[in-house]
Amino acid sequence: MNCKVAILVALLSVFSVSKGNAVEVVVNQSVPVQTITLNKIRAIFTMRQKFWPGGEPIKVFTLADQDPIHKKFTKNKLHMFPHQLRRVWDRMVYSGTGRAPVVLENEQQMLDKVANTPHAIGYLSKEPENEQIRVFVNE
């Protein structure tokens, strides 16, 4: 019995640790949506979904391809790999059929940009303590 409890505790702590390490999709408070599906979030970060339901243009921010937070974000939140995302953006940018998201240098810049840009979306490695930013909940 004790053994089972120990395993349960160990499992729970593993889950809570991985939850603590998870990436959060964050938006500016002005964004008129509370929850989002995997499809929608993919459509936004592949730059195919350009407007929020109210018609406000979406401002997408990202970190560099090799940034560990970016890698974690593409894998955990988009269920994709950075090279797949890169392929989609490059195709649009170099054929004139779309635009790439704005690449920021670090997480602090991401926090500042999402906090100060209306209708912005980005991601952070932890829940922000900033009233201008809200965490997007997966549907």
Binding site: N39, M80, Q84, R87, D90, R91, Y94, G96, T97, R99
Partner: protein, 398 residues
């Protein structure tokens, strides 16, 4: 040094400087409604026989250089203006000029949470297969030489971009994403390579393209982990013979149908495309009207050893006439039979040093000469059926 030799150092430094400056401009004066991107690629080729991109036989040819700079500006939420200038120098086929590669006004007509519909006008890239729209951007290509049976370099100007309009639509569902494009426009191609690829090396008149259409439907799963696409084009070229030529003013219709499939995993990638092309020659006088079907396909596997290092293997085959795979018609026209086909085994290695700097190398073993450029191989009788090709590429982008 002849005009197809290496770019003079001064010019090269100047272009590099301009590119760096423009990336600086982007960093310093970044505005959210204006984006600037570009690329610079230099390639080197060596062949055991036959020439590619200049004089590569028993030497090293630096004859393929590609430099592009593009701007995208969004004056209103639903309107995007974008343009790209391309400098391309390709052996004896293209001496090197700057062209407008695309210049597009894109108007988004309808946007819901799962769909987009819009129109584009101007000079638009032709959607064809997996790679055509960005065929000159090394970073977006799997290899230095794209599979030539489908992405012919010698007749590329018919495929690169067209002046006209386009309708596009996409729809996102839980079961994948659908993309549709329909382009109508004037292809830009009227050069000697196209003439010789269609009428052989002795023709001397001019081709002029009629308005053509190109359409593509693609389906992507998991944000592009699996991609399926069908592309179709219909183009007709009218021939104006030169004075005293035996050919009369005929026309050639070309209708390629292309199926594409791709798997993009974390480490492993697999790509295949199959081309079936109807060709119809009419009213050339001395040559009877005739129809024939060209066929090409390739299969390509890639593996990422680490995210920056990728190995690639491909087999690519092309037959210019599926009822004459051995090239008997070429022989009866006084040409070598191996001009009718090409089979190409290749292996390559790509190293992404940073996200904006890439170097790669590849080796090809080729059987046949169907996609060799005539401008680089003036005497068809001197070409060899079995040959080796080595290539090296440096590319920078921002």
């Amino acid at each position: 040094m002849n005009r197809y030799g290496f770019l003079s150092m001064n010019r090269f430094v100047l272009i590099c400087y301009a590119l760096l400056l423009s990336s600086q401009v982007q960093a310093d004066f970044w505005r959210e409604d204006l984006q600037v991107h570009g690329f610079l690629t230099q390639n080197f080729f060596h062949t055991s026989d036959n020439n590619v991109y200049g004089h590569s036989d028993d030497g090293i040819s630096p004859g393929l250089t590609e430099i592009g700079l593009n701007v995208s500006y969004q004056p209103f939420d639903r309107l995007t203006l974008s343009a790209q200038g391309l400098y391309r120098r390709a052996g004896h086929v293209d001496g090197g000029v700057v062209r407008l590669d695309y210049g597009i006004a894109d108007l988004n007509l309808f946007n819901s949470q799962s769909s987009n519909i819009g129109i584009r006008g101007g000079r638009i890239k032709v959607p064809f297969g997996l790679y055509n729209e960005t065929r000159d951007v090394a970073f977006t290509n799997p290899t230095i030489l794209l599979p030539q049976g489908i992405y012919f370099d010698r007749s590329r100007s018919l495929l690169v971009s067209a002046d006209g309009g386009s309708l596009y639509a996409d729809h996102h569902t839980e079961y994948g994403d659908f993309f549709f494009k329909f382009n109508l426009g004037m292809p830009l191609g009227d050069n000697e390579e196209i003439r010789s690829s269609i009428l052989g090396p002795s023709a001397s008149g001019d081709f002029e393209a009629n308005p053509a259409f190109a359409t593509q439907l693609s389906y992507e799963l998991d944000g592009g982990k699996m991609i399926f696409a069908v592309s179709y084009m219909d183009l007709t070229l009218k021939y104006q013979p030169s004075r005293g030529e035996v050919l009369s003013s005929g026309s050639t219709a070309i209708r390629p149908l292309l199926f594409s499939a791709q798997y993009n995993g974390e480490k492993f990638g697999l790509t295949a495309e199959y081309l079936y092309r109807w060709n119809h020659y009419r009213d050339y006088g001395v040559v009877p009207n005739f129809k024939f079907i060209s066929e090409s396909w390739y299969i390509q596997g890639s593996y990422r050893f680490i995210p920056q290092l990728q190995g690639i293997v491909r087999y690519d085959t092309f037959s210019s006439d599926i009822d004459d795979r051995g090239g008997q018609r070429a022989v009866s026209n006084g040409l070598s039979n191996h001009i009718a086909y090409a089979k190409d085994w290749m292996v390559g290695l790509r190293w992404d040093i940073t996200s904006s700097l890439m170097i790669r190398t590849e080796y090809h073993r080729v059987h046949g000469t169907a996609w060799l450029a005539q401008a680089d191989n003036q005497q068809q009788s001197n070409t060899k059926q079995d040959w080796d090709l080595y290539a090296l590429q440096f590319s920078y982008r921002f």
